[in-house]
């Protein structure tokens, strides 16, 4: 049991986040968003704002420097007149103080030639298309057998459409950059999940050599995917700092985050599942419709979990996108798995009801003996163990399967279950391990700790490999000047960074056999070849989520009384931070189930609810008895730690477990998230 290494800094306020670095002569940026949903900027009245005392610069397409090679439209700030969605940044005001910059931005008059935006996602949109691939590199469609025919011939058929709304990551720390140019290049104090990737991309945007950009981000106030790639704030801060010849800092105001820093696409998912009367699946068809923007394609891999979850000889998955005049969707905790498993696991519950088979037994009956689509063996798969362990702990055996069978006064009470899964990714990384002259060790890798506990976990991994005391191991992360590392994404940090740390530490130990030189000894590792040489396996973590809810029969208010997650994710390195990760994901799943929804303004574009008073995330009172445990899982085919990622699986299936519990409590099947009093009351 190991507390976070940066605990003391975080409880005393000493931990510095991007906006908080003390640099001399700093100026402040405030950005202006497009107030039309589509069209062109006709004029920017910079002069009247420049006349305000303390305003240093106004940048827009009229005067912004040409960027060298922005990789996508989201980072091509102020490069054209075009407005691609409402809320897109069109100008920035730089001021001596925060107050001055904000007042300047508020006063800046921008004239537009407006067109009517197309913002409504629908299954009959004429511009639906099949993307070349879905995030990150999965095929858009897959098919095996004769799914349509097999479905038609199945004894039990379920044909339902589930929808999930747009959802926003909403990390507590806004996207923030402090940019400082100097003789050597550009230093960015940035709130990012990946210092190395920001370094690469921003160097490209400004036409610099990678070594001329340094990104510093030791503490990051959450990201959940939204800080996995540089967002407009980085370019704005760097461009503004160059324009005024001073360091500039820019934190995206909460209200502006909803259009400019990414979100989870809304999805429309049609499921057709055919089974025999015992619930054995014969055909599974999962057809997904979702959106992207016109400036950058992001294709959420929503149907990918359906490709690995259950056996069925006849199967199909597809993704169709439409590029709308909307903000650009991006990664949000377990992209793909989260909306896809919400739908799949709700459908499995419907099938359980339709066949009269217990939901846990139904899943066990459809357990595949190898990956059902690619045919590879699973490196390990303990879904059944999670379901059984959870059933035992949660008291599933006493559950009357009849819906609406348990009432306590005004409260209808029910229990639901859902499976979860997440791939065990691993990517090449570099790390160094150094034996210091004083007998301590320093590990260096440009990893990120966005609250995951990565710093602590890497220290534990290093200490174990070096056979050293944890107190003698120092870990330096969150800086692009450290050995190049992948982003904190895809739940891959422990596997990818950890392997590089292990290999560096092993090499150091081997070299130390010759004794410790007076000046110390440093060795480095690069896992590129090791990752390439991995055997072919289907590698995934699995889990089971259980929820008990009470539904007020009069008001339709749903409260989660109890929730338990049981996970099989390889070896758990640090139980303290692992439990927090699982529970944190499940908590976000409660939000997804019951409250989170970004509502598109169909008339004018952009999301209507643009703050935390209108976009509801779970608060302390919403989260009662939530716990997470794990089953022992030994998997020799993963990485030297035997660990799978745990940052995302906690949210996967959580909303389905809650929704299935709501159905059990009320007899009402809600197929559109979130489940609110407004959707429930008319049907109770």
């Amino acid at each position: 049991m190991t507390e976070r290494l940066e605990s003391r800094e975080k409880v005393t306020g000493a931990a510095r986040y991007a906006f908080e670095y003390p640099v001399e002569n700093v100026a402040y940026a405030a950005a202006v968003q497009a107030s039309v949903g589509r069209g062109e900027v006709v004029a920017v009245d910079a002069d009247s704002v420049l006349a305000l005392p303390g305003v240093l610069a106004v940048l827009s397409h009229e005067n912004a420097p040409k960027l060298h090679d922005p990789p996508d439209g989201e980072l091509a700030l102020f490069q054209s007149r075009t407005v691609s969605y409402r809320g897109q940044f069109v100008a920035v005001v730089v001021g001596e103080t925060l107050e001055t910059a904000r007042e300047g931005a508020r006063r800046l008059r921008v004239e537009y030639a407006a067109e009517s935006p197309d913002v409504r996602l629908r299954t009959d949109h004429p511009d639906l298309y099949k993307p070349d691939k879905v995030n990150p590199t999965f095929p858009a469609d897959t098919e095996q057998g004769e799914p349509e025919d097999a479905y038609g011939c199945s004894a039990v058929r379920v044909d339902v459409t589930y929808t999930t709304p747009a959802e926003h990551n909403n990390p507590m720390e806004p996207h923030t950059t402090l940019a400082q140019w100097n003789d050597d290049g550009l230093t960015l104090y940035d709130s990012t999940q990946g210092a190395s990737s920001v370094q690469n991309i921003i160097a490209r945007v400004f036409g610099l050599d990678r070594t001329q950009v340094r990104v510093v981000s030791p503490h990051v106030g959450g990201g959940f995917g939204s800080k996995g790639s540089p967002r407009p704030n980085v370019v704005i801060a760097a461009m503004a700092a160059r324009a005024v010849g001073r360091p500039v800092k820019f934190a995206v105001p909460r209200q502006q985050m909803y259009a400019t820093t990414g979100y989870r696409t809304p999805t429309i998912q049609r499921f057709r599942v055919g089974a025999d009367s015992d619930g054995r699946l014969n055909a599974v068809l999962h057809d997904v419709v979702e959106q992207t923007s016109t400036v950058k394609e992001f294709a959420e891999q929503t149907a990918t979990p359906t490709r690995v979850m259950y056996q069925a000889p006849h199967r199909r998955t597809s993704h169709r996108l439409v590029a709308l005049d909307v903000p650009t969707p991006s990664w949000m905790r377990a992209p793909g798995e989260t909306p896809g498993m919400y739908a799949l696991e709700s459908v499995m519950d419907e099938l359980a009801v339709a066949t009269g088979v217990d939901p846990i037994e139904l899943r066990i009956r459809n357990e595949p003996d190898r990956d059902p689509e690619n045919g590879l063996p699973f490196s390990s798969r303990n879904l059944v163990a999670c379901l059984q362990e959870g059933a035992e702990r949660f008291g599933w055996a006493g559950r009357d399967p009849a819906p609406r069978a348990r009432r306590e006064g005004r409260k209808l009470v029910g229990m639901g279950v859902a499976a979860s899964t997440y791939p065990a990714y691993m990517a090449p990384n570099r790390a160094t391990a150094r034996a210091e002259p004083d007998g301590t060790f320093t590990i260096r890798i440009a990893a990120a700790d966005i609250g995951t506990g990565a710093r602590t976990t890497l220290a534990l991994i290093a200490a174990e490999t070096l056979k050293a005391d944890l107190g003698d191991v120092r870990v330096e992360i969150g800086d692009s000047s450290l050995p190049k590392a992948t982003v904190a994404g895809g739940s891959s940090g422990t596997a990818g960074w950890g392997t590089a740390v292990v290999r560096a530490c092993e090499a150091l130990r081997a070299e130390l056999n010759g004794g410790l030189p007076a000046e110390g000894l440093e060795v480095s590792a690069d896992t590129t070849e090791e990752v390439k040489a991995r055997e072919a396996f289907s590698r995934h973590a699995f889990g089971a989520q259980f929820a008990e809810v009470e539904v007020d029969a009069d008001t339709g208010e749903v409260r989660v009384r109890r929730m338990l997650g049981v996970f099989a994710a390889g070896r758990i390195i640090n139980p303290v931070t692992a439990r927090s990760q699982f529970i944190g994901g499940m908590t976000m799943g409660i939000g997804m189930a019951l409250m989170e929804e970004s509502v598109m303004d169909r008339e004018f574009g952009d999301y209507l609810n643009r703050d935390l008073a209108q976009y509801h995330v779970p608060s302390c009172a919403d989260v009662r008895d939530v716990d997470a445990v794990w089953v022992e899982e030994s998997d020799p085919h993963l990485n030297p730690m035997g660990a799978k990622g745990i940052g995302e699986i906690g949210i996967v299936g959580a909303a389905a477990a809650v929704g299935n519990a709501v159905h059990h409590a009320t007899g009402v099947r809600v197929r559109s998230l979130p489940i609110t009093p407004a959707t429930l009351v008319p049907r109770l």
């Binding site: 507390e3 976070r4 940066e6 605990s7 003391r8 800094e9 975080k10 409880v11 005393t12 306020g13 000493a14 931990a15 510095r16 986040y17 906006f19 908080e20 003390p22 005392p53 103080t97 925060l98 107050e99 001055t100 007042e103 006063r107 990551n169 909403n170 990390p171 507590m172 720390e173 806004p174 503490h219 106030g221 959450g222 959940f224 934190a251 105001p253 909460r254 966005i450 609250g451 995951t452 931070t577 927090s580 990760q581 529970i583 944190g584 994901g585 499940m586 908590t587 976000m588 703050d611 935390l612 008073a613 995330v617 779970p618 608060s619 302390c620 009172a621 989260v623 009662r624 939530v626």
Partner: protein, 181 residues
């Protein structure tokens, strides 16, 4: 749109974590921004700047408040405690210790607000102030889990550390009782 183009400044005095500061503040500046940008006390966080997330929670004259909703100029003479003022030198306060022991945070960005909020909240309970979930308004509130959750709901945590936060507040409350006994 008004014609005021020149910032207006005012002289105020703030006592922050026991130290007096004489300041000339922009009348548009929030207490939060004065703490962070003028005094360099960046422990208090800005999550929403609209009083909706609680990351900026500080103690003003002993009561918890959102620093982002307080105009500095309106708090001349105030006595303020921020997260930097909770510990006694190197000695962490019971609530700070409990947050570490219960892993009541992940990214740490809401944590200063949670800590100040919990500090103020425990004091409110000690004074006998009820909350909306207090059953018996006639006697002193009992700080059970539901009371903690209700009273801490002004501080959002997107990492979802609430389970740890409730455990930490409970532990700190027990420490406080033990110390008083």
């Amino acid at each position: 749109m008004n014609n005021a183009t020149t910032p207006v400044h005012a002289d105020i005095t703030l006592v922050v974590n026991g130290q007096e500061h004489r300041l000339n503040v922009d009348t548009r500046a929030s207490l939060l921004d004065v703490l962070r940008e003028t005094l360099g006390l960046t422990g208090s966080k800005k999550g929403c700047d609209h009083g909706q997330c609680g990351a900026c929670t500080i103690l003003i004259d002993g009561r918890r408040a959102n620093g982002c909703l307080a105009l500095a100029v309106a708090h001349d003479g105030a006595d303020i405690v921020t997260v930097e003022g909770l510990a006694q030198g190197d000695q962490l306060s019971p609530i700070q210790r409990a947050f570490i022991e219960q892993d009541a945070f992940q990214c740490g960005y809401c944590t200063p607000g949670q800590l100040c909020s919990a500090t103020g909240m425990l004091d409110e309970v000690a004074r006998g102030w009820p909350s909306v979930v207090t059953d018996d308004l006639g006697s002193d509130p009992v700080l059970n889990d539901d009371e903690i959750r209700e009273r801490m709901s002004g501080n959002l945590c997107r990492c979802g550390a609430y389970v740890g936060i409730v455990a930490a507040v409970k532990q700190a409350a027990q420490d406080r009782e033990a110390a008083e006994a």
